[in-house]
Symmetry: C2
Subunit: 298 residues, 2 copies
């Protein structure tokens, strides 16, 4: 069949302190039957053993921002993650090749933000979007976030094979396992594997014309003083309410002294990745998005 998928990779531990992916890969490698489907081969692998060993996000730099074509071609980049990226690219790429070793990838992540079950897609590949739309159809609580900020040369692990996306589930602290997050993430994995089994065997009973997404608009940093120190926290109204609709005047932050800091823009937004621990150092407190229905007939 046209576009049949022959080999899928499930990866975890890209961020070594996001234990859900680490332990799901342990589960899948211990008992590969769980992720077996008849019409394609599935491999599961840890991507960043160094970061996993020390239970940190990374050793030298964020592995999930290290897969631009330029970085992969640059032999002068010799950090732990830069070298690792080149190894991973050989295993599940090479990136940009029509003869990639892997046809589709799911990279398993978690977040301290109240994101529920989420898929983050940078790809413009039609089949990838059909897989995401199928997953949302089967798991209605699933949210799809489109991030095309660096589509031309996406630097994520999930950008290596021609198709794929990142799974993000939360809230969960770094360095912690939670049964609900573990089970929820595994459910997404199985649903997507089922999609490709149906696709490969011509048994898909539905084509998705459109899907609801949260489309990237901009990043918002914490209020800071002149020294760069954070002087306000995420407002309690926003803290535990993932994908919350934000209108002008709604509170975004609360200063350490208890004053509200409100949203000033005219356009409605939905807030994602609110209070993700790893983004404090990157300089943002949340990502604002536009909720929309997009056509999949592109």
């Amino acid at each position: 069949m046209q576009n049949s998928i022959k080999k899928i990779a499930i990866t975890g531990g890209t961020h070594g302190n996001e234990l859900t992916g680490v332990y799901l890969i342990n589960k899948f490698t211990t008992n590969p039957k769980i992720i077996h489907r008849d019409s394609f081969k599935t491999i599961s692998m840890h991507t960043n053993l160094g970061a996993m060993k020390q239970c940190t996000r990374y050793v030298d730099k964020d592995l999930n921002r290290t897969f631009s074509k330029a970085a992969l071609a640059d032999d002068t980049l010799t950090s732990y993650e830069d070298k690792l990226a080149k190894e991973i690219n050989q295993k599940i790429g090479p990136k940009g090749s029509k003869d990639s070793n892997i046809d589709f990838i799911m990279d398993l992540h978690t977040t301290t933000s109240s994101m529920g079950l989420s898929i983050c897609i940078s790809s413009t590949d039609k089949l990838t979007w059909q897989a995401a739309a199928y997953a949302k159809d089967k798991l209605p609580e699933l949210n799809i976030f489109r991030w095309q900020g660096d589509t031309d040369d996406a630097a994520f692990v999930s950008s290596i094979p021609p198709r794929g996306f990142t799974i993000e589930v939360g809230p969960i602290p770094q360095g912690v396992l939670r049964a609900d997050v573990f089970i929820g993430t595994e459910n997404i994995v199985h649903t997507v594997l089922d999609f490709f089994e149906l696709h490969n065997t011509g048994k898909l009973d539905k084509h998705y014309d459109s899907v609801e997404i949260y489309d990237y608009k901009k990043l918002v940093d914490f209020p800071r003083n002149e020294s760069g120190d954070i002087v306000a926290m995420i407002h309690p109204d926003l803290q535990d309410d993932g994908y919350k609709k934000i209108d002008k005047g709604d509170p975004l932050f609360m200063t350490l002294d208890g004053e509200s800091v409100n949203y000033q823009d005219e356009d409605t937004a939905h807030a994602l990745f609110v209070n993700e621990a790893a983004y404090y150092e990157k300089g943002f407190a949340m990502c604002l998005t536009e909720k929309k229905l997009i056509s999949l007939e592109f």
Copy 2:
């Protein structure tokens, strides 16, 4: 007045990724009036700037296990935290001295565990227990955990002055600020400062004969395989229910395959520090305690 308290220290950042304490100290040092009381002097300080800078629990070792008298006297211990401990001991100690620079300390911590507002006490000092009992009287949701595992030579920051305790609030991920946890922790601080103001000025209208506590029984590790890898997670029934009562047969863990692992002991326990991220490397999943009323007439 007998036993009057002249100088109190509030410390935060002992674990550099527990941001609530870090930012409360920022707030107090920016505006010391907040923690001013007329009858004593209060200082606020960060204890582990190195760990704070890299947003990790510690640089070389856990600072909050580095204050045994033996370690403080051992000049051959030269790790970052061992050297730091000696500096801190000079500032707010010296430990064991009747002429300590500080009379009472509150060291501010957080946990990924669902512990609510908690005070952890190792001290056997009467006035320290009166302060805790007062705080529980004013803040009924507060819980008191007694840890006397290393009372003879407690190694916590809070063991340096003759009186003091650790404040633990959660759940909150490492590396994250939450307004509710921030406000809750500050409420405990103010309540305890108020206690000492009333104590010093002879205006305390109540003496506490007894208080309800959770008394340390034992630590329980995660189920592990022969390689030492964790093979089960905290059971969902226990995950978000701090101080939960556990009887024989109640589920403690869920294996990665979904099987329950149950509590086998005959005696009832209450589970604390369930799923604290920092304790994965220490080898325990929870602390079991006995809920009891203890006399304060010792």
